[in-house]
Amino acid sequence: MEYFIELFLGGLTRGSIYALIALGYTMVYGIIQLINFAHGEIYMIGAFTALIVAGILSMLGWNPVAILIIASVIAVVYSASYGWTIEKLAYKPLRQAPRLSALISAIGMSMFLQYYVLLAQTSNFLPFPSLIPDFKFMEPIEHIVRSSEIVIYITTAIVMVFLTFLIKFTRIGKAMRATAQDRDMAMLVGIDVNKVISFTFIIGSATAAIGGVLVASHTGQINYYIGFIAGIKAFVAAVLGGIGSMPGAVLGSLVLGMSESFFTGYISSDYEDVFAFLFLVFTLIFRPSGILGRSDTDKV
């Protein structure tokens, strides 16, 4: 039974991380119908930024919690500016082009960022300091769930509530929904669509960066390639939940995280990634619009 709980909580951790990345995928898809393959790289850049900042601050002898907060803030800002720049450079010029062009541009951007970090940093795994402290009250259950995992759950929950609120109730959220539904009409009621798209990229990237920092300090190591696999998994989760739908992204991430966790725990850990992608294949065959996605009937 304890083993089951352990796997369940492990799945929850994976799911939360996937959710933080998948939200960005799904938001961008909702607004401009583009799979932003460079999104995983934003997550990786977030982790690297945090590592660099944390390195400098710990040399100065700051306390870990302060380092965690400052490193996260800088990582979020830096990654968000990356997201903004990527959109302006690689996607905006292709907005009127066929969708495939933008998709290829996204793949190119993803590779560019990976190899840029490879050259600018290193191809080795770098140790990441565990910035999240071990809480006192967690000690009795520390063998089942670690403090860093609790922090991941709570952060993901906060981010989700914040985004839901943002989309549902604020002016920019309304503008985002309007842009997603009919971009030309949104312009005609006076919405600056370019600003809305930029904002979406900024928010999505910031979310991914939070994920990057949390995962890095949870697993304790990073390299230039972590964004790729995490990005693909989050993409699977977003498709599973119904791409374009925010609750769908979260639900899909949790489903994927849990099933991965139980699969590796009860069957075999060697086939973990195979399992995730089999999930993608079956979703696409049997329910292409995802769990919560609406099946689009074409307009006549």
Partner: protein, 262 residues
């Protein structure tokens, strides 16, 4: 008095096809002006040029909301055209289907609000006040248009006539000095058309918003319009009061074809 909208020699080519050929048009304050013509004459293209969806090949489009300074619409993006006070509706309904009626109208107010993104995120008091004001204004506007019973319904669940009215409400929420209505009565029954007739007159007289409309329902056009322009094959073939248009041989020819001596 200066016209509030003045279009000079507007021309639009699509490749080798001349969709609009040197069209002149003027709208004065307080007028209801109709643009009519057979299908494919270029009426919607004309609207698309004015509202910034297409860029015209040649010609000038000037507005002067205050009757003094003139401002050119050439090269403006749709959201900037809306900001300068022109709002439009579409031939086929283009509401934000998955938003409520109130939200559709509030979206229209968007361009008149001042709060930026930080305000939207951090909800400072000024933003909250503005937000509350927008909700109140939007509700009042819906009352005027007669849609208050639908406030929290999704736009897609409204009856057809109400959806058309909501499009007009959303356009009015941007506080235009002029409304461009593209076939507002399309697909409406006799009763709905009558109500629409009253609504347009009310908007023009009480709200002091001038109206330029494309319409095929001749009864509606003749009863509403102060001035009618007729286009055919991208060219303007006539302009005048409803009386003059009714008896214009060119117009009759365009609509019914030429008489052939047997």
């Amino acid at each position: 008095m200066e016209p509030i909208l003045e279009v000079k020699e507007l021309t639009k080519d699509f490749g080798g096809l001349r969709a609009l050929d040197r069209i002149d048009l003027k709208v004065h304050r307080g007028q209801i002006v109709a643009l009519i013509g057979p299908n494919g004459a270029g009426k919607t293209t004309f609207f698309n040029c004015i509202t910034g969806i297409y860029q015209p090949t040649k010609g000038e489009m000037l507005i002067s909301p205050g009757g003094k300074e003139k401002k050119s619409l050439n090269g403006l993006k749709p959201n900037h055209v809306t900001k300068s006070g022109l709002a439009r509706t579409f031939q086929n309904i283009r509401l934000f289907q998955n938003m409520t009626v109130l939200e559709n109208v509030m979206i229209g107010r968007h361009c008149r609000m001042h709060a930026g993104i930080p305000g939207a995120v951090f909800r400072n008091p000024a933003t909250m006040r503005e937000e509350k004001q927008v909700v109140e204004d939007s509700y009042r506007l819906l009352e005027k248009i007669g849609l208050e019973q639908y406030v929290n319904e999704y736009a897609k669940n409204l009856p057809y006539g109400a959806q058309r009215r909501l499009e007009i409400a959303r356009a009015m929420a941007t506080e235009p000095f002029m409304l461009l209505l593209d076939e507002p009565a399309a697909g409406m029954n006799v009763k709905e058309t009558k109500e629409l007739d009253d609504l347009i007159v009310q908007i023009c007289h009480q709200e002091k918003i001038s109206i330029l409309l494309i319409e095929h329902d001749m009864k509606l056009v003749m009863s509403l319009s102060d001035l009618i322009y007729v286009v055919d094959y991208g060219k303007k073939i006539a302009e005048g009061t409803p009386e003059e248009i009714k008896n214009n041989p060119d117009v009759i020819k365009a609509y019914l074809g030429e008489e052939v001596d047997a």
